[in-house]
């Protein structure tokens, strides 16, 4: 219901204010070709420095209140997830769909421990179930070493609620997903959208530590609207 001329009037006012009378000043060009060279360089660099980046991530992640577990085999990853869940007396876990979770055969093994694993395709009322679930289990699309940040791209099967509604969030990360920081991430995202024709995800979420507030006397309280606990399991095998 934009008032009929609001758009034209605002843009006109801006042009007048900038003394350009509608004549465009060239806008900076971002070249895809340039990005492509940049991309392989970023990938090589991250691979070369991988163990260093993982170590840096671990330090930063602990500093902001995350709990890090390095699993060198499937069993270790499963046991950690089971432990976190049983510590909370969990009955229900909501999870990402896909190879990552299937690879650990989580659904069946958690079932044997009396814990139900729900995904978007197994549960019709997924959001309301997520709201009462005890644990959210996700993968990540990238991890940023210099800030201890997890990057999650929303898509079909990877609902935003999983890392948001339950009080505990466990993220599974593969070492190959480790980047040095934002300066690596954005070229990769841009490259994917420009050259592979993929649209940017509807929601890209950076998660750096558990939900927190300092709104009462600047006292830090962990766990406001989002998860109170954030775990990261490095699938290092």
């Amino acid at each position: 219901v934009t008032a009929r001329n609001a758009r034209e009037e605002i843009l006109g006012e801006i042009k007048r204010a900038l003394h350009r009378g509608g004549k465009a000043v060239p806008v900076r060009e971002e070249l895809v070709a340039e990005a492509s060279g940049q991309i392989s360089q970023i990938k090589e660099e991250c691979e070369r420095r991988r163990s260093e980046l993982v170590a840096q991530f671990e330090t930063e992640f602990a500093r902001i209140g995350g709990r890090f577990h390095r699993a060198t085999n499937v069993e270790s990853a499963f046991q950690y997830i089971r432990q976190v869940a049983t510590d909370r007396g969990a009955r229900t876990i909501v999870a990402w769909e896909g190879q990552l979770i299937d690879g650990i055969d989580l659904s069946q093994r958690l079932g044997q421990n009396g814990i139900q694993l729900l995904t978007e395709s197994t549960e019709a009322d997924f959001i309301n179930r997520s709201a009462i679930a005890d644990v959210g289990l996700s993968g990540v699309d990238y991890a940023l070493a210099d800030t201890g940040t997890l990057v999650l791209l929303a898509c079909n099967g990877h609902a935003r609620s999983i890392s948001l509604l339950p009080p505990v969030h466990i993220a599974l990360v593969r070492p190959q997903q480790m980047l040095s920081g934002l300066s690596d991430l954005f070229p990769l995202l841009r490259y994917a959208s420009e050259t592979e024709g993929r649209d940017l995800s509807s929601a890209i979420t950076f998660i750096t530590g558990p939900s927190r507030t300092a709104d009462i006397e600047l006292t830090l309280v962990v766990g406001v609207h989002g998860p109170q606990q954030l775990h990261m399991v490095l699938l290092d095998w």
């Binding site: 801006i14 971002e30 609620s161 841009r190 750096t208 709104d215 006397e217 006292t219």
Partner: protein, 470 residues
């Protein structure tokens, strides 16, 4: 923009005597300490600030192009873009969307722009419940007050105040610790998130090249407001743009460091259009309202333009000796502190906020800490000068000041009178002296000594010593 800055002198005089308030505000220093530490350990911190300023200059210098680009990309990604010349138009757009969709409950994320246009009041009047969901904003809304700090809206309240408030408004008595109060707020608000029809947020950045709205927070309430309700409306001032994601990286590196002393805030959400086919959550409708509300006027004034670079981080409030004494409410505007003292007059008119540019010691701490290096002291001086030159009612210097300047000019041109003008008071000042200073000047000059001492006049002037060669 509605302001109550006309009573600034009275309100700040009361606030400056409020020791409890000053104790509350002292905690803000914690932000500054952490901020300084983080910038010191960032190898290219200063260069990043320069780069950020450069990007702002470039973007705002091509604003029409980038806004059109943002619009085009949002539409391409299935969103809707609305334009509002002022608060009234923006409110009308929100109300119309709410009416069309039978919205009864709105969850709101902290947004200075919605405060600026007083959206909550408009929603309430229309019979729509609008709940603030940031903990600080929730507290302030329960207390029926206004936020007193950009980043920490309830910083003026003590734990005890909030405990009493929760007992009174929520019926939960005897909450002792911040943790307990937070748990109660979480429970109350969780219900709201799950049943709300509409989420309303601001926007920290709009990325023109991708049609993305960026939201930065710590609590998760913004993620909930954008993920659960069926409709998401983001309101954004025209100035909040960056050209590309690479530019965004520069700002994300300095914003949380400047605002809350964090390397990165807990959550950053990049929202691009509405939920896509097959997705389970995220808003089905995404609307962006692009708001002018006086910003093009600021843009047209080259001396004021850089005030549009502001990221609303709040760092200048934390270091300001005036804000530290009087808090945010005395400014009578949603934008307080040094940045508020320049943008409130720009938005609301100098005639309604003439005292704000004078509420500064010009110490320069705000310019020093500003992540995009806005020269706030320069703009404060410009506004003071505008007021002195102004023909507005009450504008221009007071009569007595004009008379004094005329006398001064006359004396400067007549040596004998000039000498007398100092020699006579130098002899007569005796009874006024206290510890070698004048604590109270007589007559109309008394105002000068209300808050500081006047140095005693020397017995002999420099000129007379010079003449006598000793």
């Amino acid at each position: 923009m509605h302001v109550n800055s006309e009573s600034f002198i009275q309100d700040s005089t009361i606030a400056v005597q409020n020791k409890t308030l000053q104790t509350r505000l002292r905690v803000l220093n914690g932000f500054t300490v952490k901020r300084n530490h983080l910038f010191a350990e960032l190898p290219d911190g200063e260069a990043l600030r320069d780069r950020a300023r450069e990007i702002k200059e470039q973007t705002i210098g091509n604003l029409d192009i980038y806004l059109s680009q943002l619009e085009e990309n949002i539409v391409r990604m299935g969103g809707t873009v609305h334009w509002a010349r002022d608060g009234k138009e923006a409110r009308a757009i929100v109300l119309e969307l709410a009416r069309k969709n039978n919205v009864r409950l709105v969850v709101k994320a902290k947004s200075m722009v919605t405060e600026e246009i007083e959206l909550n009041e408009a929603l309430e009047e229309a019979g729509i419940e609008a709940v603030e969901t940031d903990l600080g904003e929730y507290i302030v809304q329960l207390a029926n007050e206004k936020p007193s700090h950009i980043l920490a809206p309830a910083v003026h309240k003590s734990k005890g105040d909030i405990s009493d408030l929760f007992a009174d408004k929520l019926g939960v008595a005897n909450l002792k610790e911040a943790e307990d109060m937070t748990v109660v707020a979480r429970q109350r608000l969780r219900e709201k998130f799950l049943t709300a029809d509409m989420g309303i947020t601001g926007a920290n950045f709009g990325v023109a090249q991708t049609g993305t709205i960026v939201l930065v927070e710590n609590e998760g309430n913004i993620r909930l407001s954008t993920s659960l309700p069926r409709i998401h409306i983001a309101l954004m001032g025209i100035e909040k743009l960056v050209p590309s994601l690479d530019d965004l990286a520069v700002f994300l590196k300095i914003l949380a460091r400047s605002a809350s002393g964090q390397k990165m805030s807990s959550y950053v959400s990049l929202i691009t259009g509405a939920r896509r086919t097959g997705e389970t959550d995220g808003a089905e409708e995404f609307h962006l309202i692009i708001l002018d509300n006086g910003r093009t006027r600021i843009l047209a004034d080259e001396e004021m333009r850089e005030s549009l670079y502001c990221l609303r981080c709040g760092a200048c409030l934390n270091v300001c000796p005036v804000y530290q004494k009087i808090g945010g409410h005395a400014y009578g505007s949603v934008y307080s502190g040094p940045i508020g003292s320049i943008i409130t007059p720009a938005f609301a008119g100098l005639e309604k906020s003439k005292d704000l540019p004078f509420a500064s010691t010009l110490c320069g701490a705000c310019r020093e800490i500003c992540p995009v290096r806005i020269d706030i002291p320069r703009i404060l001086l410009k506004l003071r000068s505008d007021w002195s030159e102004s023909k507005l009612d009450g504008g221009g210097p007071p009569l007595l000041e004009k008379l004094a300047i005329k006398l001064w000019a006359f004396a400067m041109r007549h040596r004998v009178i000039y000498n007398l003008a100092f020699r006579v008071p130098a002899f007569l000042q005796g009874p006024l002296l206290e510890d070698g200073k004048i604590k109270q000047l007589p007559f109309a000059l008394g105002g000068w000594t209300q808050s500081r001492d006047f140095p005693a006049l020397a017995r002999r002037s420099f000129r007379s010593m010079w003449d006598q060669g000793n």
